[in-house]
Symmetry: C2
Subunit: 104 residues, 2 copies
Amino acid sequence: MIENDFFRALADPTRRAIFEKLAAGSMNASALRNGMEISQPAMSQHLAVLRSAKLVREQRQGRFVNYEVDPEGLALIAQWLAKYRAYWPDRIAALKVLLKDMDQ
Amino acid sequence: MIENDFFRALADPTRRAIFEKLAAGSMNASALRNGMEISQPAMSQHLAVLRSAKLVREQRQGRFVNYEVDPEGLALIAQWLAKYRAYWPDRIAALKVLLKDMDQ
DNA sequence: CCGACACATAAGCATACACTTATCTGATTT
DNA sequence: AAATCAGATAAGTGTATGCTTATGTGTCGG
């Protein structure tokens, strides 16, 4: 059950912070730690969780490992959310505008 | 931090099952238990978590309490997701179609 | 009013989870 | 080749969480 993975992954505030940081630009695990008050193993463990949830993907670069947002996880969340479109309130009109932006 | 509430609430598979059942049609706590192999207190506790995450709302009806999907929680998830629209893959085109349906 | 019913709350317990320190792997540099 | 550095993994620990068995609260029917 893949839903379990991404909801569990995002249930932790530290992991959401990591994800948000990566959304602002891909970087390696050490760079992610800057200004985050988190140990190296903790970061590594969080990244492993985000990875198995398809929210983040890695790319070895020498002895660094570059991390970036994996669109697949976001797609899965969007698909889950789409199931409940019958309940989306008008407020979600904002989302429609955003989607139009995607067409640019 | 409201994000914490809904991600934590949905991280549990039992709560997602309850939510999905409610999405198919509002009903009271006892009806929700049908075919779910879950104790009455457990259900009550799960509903409390979903309630505080704004994913579900209640409505007293005599000695029954009717539960239904609360659009507010879904809206919050959609808003969170919208922040990362830059990473949405083309696959999400399906979502655009769904949104067009909403305009009917 | 009193028993039954729908549901919430309390308290206790077992497991999951996020952290720690220590160690390991693999790549780079000198 | 040896030291160093980026990162992963292992093992242990405290706390959060989902469950259980009571018990409490409010509403209804007789």
